[in-house]
Amino acid sequence: MSSTLPPVPAASQSPAETIVEAIRRNLPHVPFAEGQTATDTDLAVAPEHLLALVTGLKTRKELAFDFLRNIAGVDMEAEGLVCKYQLYSFKHGHALQITVACPPDNPRLPSLTGLYAAADWHEREAAEMFGLIFEGHPNPKNLLLEEDLRIHPLLKAHPLQKVEILQGIEEGPPGFKF
């Protein structure tokens, strides 16, 4: 019976080259390096080119990446912080990942809130979890953590140790003795 069923196709992706080529054609002035993850095409850009790249990706008719899926920060330890952006186009159905590697001592990125309202909370989350600084964010408060907590729990250099949880707070809450 299973022979009569259609086979399960691989996740439908437009061929990776065409997207990259289209981007190169449309945005010749933005330097980037291409790669491939298990699911998506990956573009690596420098932080200073991010805004130009994403603006182009969003506004060019041929690309039309109108949907910011996700922003994920990654702590690459010695190489510094990396920010991953997942984009998708409802119009063309193609997806893209952008990797922005920050220099180890300068985790500054342009904020995408002007382009995508969706970027607001994602950026706040990445900022509080990793200490990334999104320049131009309208409301850069902590989102999930306490408002005055200035430590970044998802950093690799931050093992889950009790003392460090309370780092930056002069006195722990009553009843806590470490």
């Binding site: 949907f67 990654v74 409802f90 990942q97 969706a118």
Partner: protein, 381 residues
């Protein structure tokens, strides 16, 4: 006596001052579906500003995942969307399989899809019940929905051994095979579910006040919804037939016929109705799975005991019950993921709350929040 402790005084350009009142809704409030807090600034009954506060349920899911190996971390993930734990497990397993390149036996895929769709029905039942209560029908819808949820949970218990957090899926399949009486049991359950949906449909959709409260409230345009990152039934309510099961098919969904219900203007009623219609579609999917499923293995036999992944990166997305449930996974060797990020649909939908609420009545703010169908476990991770 301070009745108005959080007054905000605004000085206008012409030198006059007016006072706005803020109301704190949550974190303990019957209408916030968990520990969610929003501070509404009201002018009389009208909301002029809204500030959501989240994080009360933040459990450090991502950090925990990084510190447990691939199989251990499973248990944390079905506690994200705890109304539909199966769907979260499915997404997590798919991400790990994608990273490690593990094949899943066909029977396991069918089992997964069935359980995931039943989870979806379960979650939507929860929405219908809670939404009815938000609109104000004294718990009747809640109890109606609860009846069917109990039956679904009973089935889950029979299949997996647990009701809410089964930890039943494994990278490479599922933990154990189905029980003997599974098919008649599910067929009976589907009949009961259809009856339950119909009951709720008649109770809510057939009520003038319910329709009047919901129709035309806080309509959302498709463009704006996309820009705000809203997905799932809320996006489909704006009229865009976008469902990851069709748009980027995964698992065995391409073999199964189902429709994508859409709304017209993205108002609250459309969101409600899209979910109602989706439940029928899910039941349809489960029935087709029952017809197509065949005996066979349920777990990939070549699966190593201790899963190690050298290198890999993926962003796996599937259609969770609330929208696009995405898992970003990065492996750099070892038996633990280097980074796992959850793109939770509730989180992204909730980000648009402020824009939807401002300009409406306080009573409507509650409904709008309810129509987003958030799960705080998923929002706060």
């Amino acid at each position: 006596m301070s009745i108005w402790p959080e007054e905000r005084t605004y000085t206008h350009a012409d030198g006059f001052e007016t006072v706005d009142m803020t109301i704190n809704i949550g974190p303990q409030h019957p209408a916030t579906h968990g520990v969610f807090r929003m501070v509404l600034t009201v002018d009389g009954e009208m909301v002029v500003d809204c500030e959501p506060y989240i994080g009360y349920l933040h459990r450090g899911l991502e950090k925990l995942t990084e510190n447990n190996d691939y199989r251990q971390a499973m248990g944390f993930w079905d506690r994200t969307d705890y109304l539909a734990g199966m769907a979260c497990e499915g997404a997590y397993c798919m991400a790990v399989e994608k990273l490690a390149g593990i094949e899943v036996p066909e029977r396991a895929e069918y089992i997964r899809v069935m359980l995931m769709e039943l989870s979806r029905i379960n979650s939507h039942f929860m929405f219908l019940g809670a939404f009815g209560a938000d609109v104000g029908s004294f718990g009747t819808s809640f109890v109606y929905a609860w009846r069917e949820r109990e039956r679904i949970y009973d089935l889950f218990e029979e299949v997996t051994g647990d009701r809410m957090f089964p930890t039943y899926f494994r990278p490479g399949g599922v933990a154990m095979d189905l029980p003997e009486n599974f098919e008649p049991r599910v067929r009976w359950l589907l009949g009961s579910i259809r009856q339950g949906i119909e009951d709720l449909d008649r109770l809510l959709t057939g009520n003038e006040i319910f329709v009047e409260r919901c129709t035309g409230l806080s309509p959302l345009a498709t463009d704006r919804a996309i820009n705000m990152g809203v997905t799932g039934p809320v996006l489909r309510a704006t009229g865009l037939p976008w469902d990851l099961r069709k748009a980027e098919p995964y698992s065995i969904y391409p073999r199964i016929a189902f429709d994508i219900p859409t709304g017209r203007q993205g108002d609250i009623f459309d969101r409600y109705f899209v979910r109602l219609a989706e439940m029928y579609q899910s039941a349809r999917i489960v029935e087709q799975c029952l017809e197509q499923i065949e005996p066979g293995l349920v777990l990939n036999p070549k699966l190593p005991k201790n899963l190690r992944i050298d290198n890999g990166e993926c962003y796996v997305r599937n259609e969770g019950t609330k929208g696009e449930y995405g898992v970003y996974a990065l492996a750099r060797g070892g038996n633990k993921p280097y980074r796992m990020k959850l793109r939770s649909p509730s989180f992204c939908n909730l980000a648009g709350l402020r824009e939807m609420v401002v300009g409406n009545y306080v009573a409507d703010a509650i409904i709008i929040l309810g129509s987003l169908d958030i799960v705080l476990g998923e929002v706060d991770k």
